[in-house]
Amino acid sequence: MTQRTPAAPQDDLANTTQIGVLSSEERANPIAAIASFMEKTFTIVWLEVRKIRHDPTDIITRAVQPALWLLIFGEVFTRIRAIPTGGESYLDFMAPGILAQSVLFIAIFSGIAIIWERDLGIIHKFLTSPTPRGALVLGKGLAAGVRGLAQALIVYVLALLLGVHMNWNPLALLGVVIIVMLGATCFATFSLIIACLVKTRERFMGIGQVLTMPLFFASNAIYPIAIMPTWLQVIAVCNPLTYEVYALRSLMLAGGTITSGLIVDFAVMLVTAIVLVIIGAKLYPRVAM
């Protein structure tokens, strides 16, 4: 092998920051920087997708939970008509909530893989490569989104079997894909942040359990916010999952309409994801220390 000529040293010299989402060398040339950032992000997604393809058992066992919720909880509650859904059947009301829930569950425990990879030494190798920390974090988040899409497929099949009135408009389906990816990125990055802070598997599992239930129940996933006591309504309005469910409900169900509300839902989730990725990128190098 021959000695390599150093690549673009003039760019390198401008770099003085370690932890930013984009390094300063990249701020100097924003378009190339964004292209490089996206390419690195997709490399991380590619790697995670290859892992799923080598061992898809996780994806398959994860299908059990939404199936149980829809088949048992959904079938029972749709008969007792206890929950005011505004005219639609409870199963219809609930199906988007269950999709949001299964994406949440997949994403919120993805941080444990980071602790595992830290213990192995894999993370150290990524952190010594010239990859923006933000790309490593966002890549992990989007990879959780790919797992979330597998859940969406399962929920759609179940919904079809149960006779839920779905919206099959291709644009609406595309919207569901985007919302699932965005929701998974939010919660996977949140999970990554927790992993960076607690650093051990045992503590992470404890905290993961403590957070998942409130996130799920203090949202509109399986009942409308309107029937909650005021204090819980406040929490639900601050919960990103609520916006994910709102968005999914208007995109997944037949008769759902694209309203300005959908734009608000999307914007809330996008801003949450961006803020979390920035925080994650700052904390990620701490895992290896």
Binding site: M1, T2, I122, H124
Partner: protein
């Protein structure tokens, strides 16, 4: 004119709480050298290598790799180094080839070079037949060679190896050494390694620094170090014992021990 050192460390300090893990360390590595940092567990070797590879910020002092300050200019440093961590760093759920391709992309290898370079690196490390096997089915020695292949893919100017042969059986260890030797001969790459195997240091390194309790106790070529304490048939073991007071077993926390054992088991 004197050659610019490729790795330069001046008065480096790393405190964990009150405890100085790296305690006012200074040394320089010349281009093309194989430099060994020798010491018992807990001597500060891994911490030093983590600072040099931009993973850990030093508390004070100066460290530069290929002329770039590791704290102020980490990106250019990262582009020019390869790193094989002590723990297992290849992903067991990917094939050997996929492991390489990921890093070919992350290190910005030109698109058309990625696939040929990945195959070339696999071949160089004697892994071409295992390229499409999942790494979790590799032997310990194969994983280590794959990790070296990952780290040399972008032809770094300095290759950092943290305890490259820990937990390997003698045959696998020898294979790793031979590959490193060959790599150095062919590429002229500077190799910086840490080890606590005296034999490894003696056979691989041009120069070694003996580190103990965060300080550099002695530095020089194996021959010089042996001469420095005199006596006939002095081995590097004797040198080591002389400078560290037979503390080969000292140091290393519960976590370090668990970590080393786990790594050893997985590699074994």
């Amino acid at each position: 004119m004197q050659k610019q050192p490729i790795v330069e460390v001046r008065d480096l300090v790393k405190l964990f709480g009150e405890h100085a893990v790296v305690d006012h360390v200074s040394f320089a590595v010349e281009p093309g050298e194989v430099f060994g940092l020798l010491g018992p567990n807990g001597a500060g070797k891994s911490t030093t290598i983590k600072i040099l590879t931009t993973l850990l910020p030093p508390t004070s002092g100066y460290a530069a790799v290929v002329g770039f300050d590791v704290t102020k200019q980490p990106m250019p440093v990262r582009r020019r180094i390869g790193y094989v961590p002590q723990a297992l760093s290849a992903d067991g759920n990917l094939t050997g080839y996929e492991n390489l391709l990921v890093f070919a992309r992350l290190y910005d290898l030109p698109r058309e070079e990625r696939v040929p370079k990945a195959h070339e690196a696999l071949k160089f490390m004697g892994l071409q037949d295992a390229a499409d096997k999942l790494v979790r089915n590799y032997s310990g020695g194969m994983i280590r060679r794959l990790e070296v292949a990952q780290a040399m893919l972008h032809q770094p100017e300095v290759l950092f190896l943290d305890e490259p042969t820990v937990g390997l059986d003698p045959v696998a260890r020898k294979a790793v050494w031979e590959h490193l030797e060959q790599l150095r001969k062919q590429s002229g790459m500077t190799i910086f390694l840490t080890t606590h195997y005296m034999e490894e240091a003696d056979s691989l390194c041009d120069r070694v620094a003996i580190m103990h309790l965060g300080k550099i106790m002695a530095i020089g070529s194996p021959v010089e170090l042996k001469a420095s304490i005199g006596g006939d048939e002095t081995t590097l073991d004797d040198v080591f014992t002389h400078y560290t007071g037979n503390m080969l077993e000292s140091g290393g926390s519960y976590r370090d021990t668990a970590h080393t054992r786990r790594t050893a088991r997985r590699l074994g």
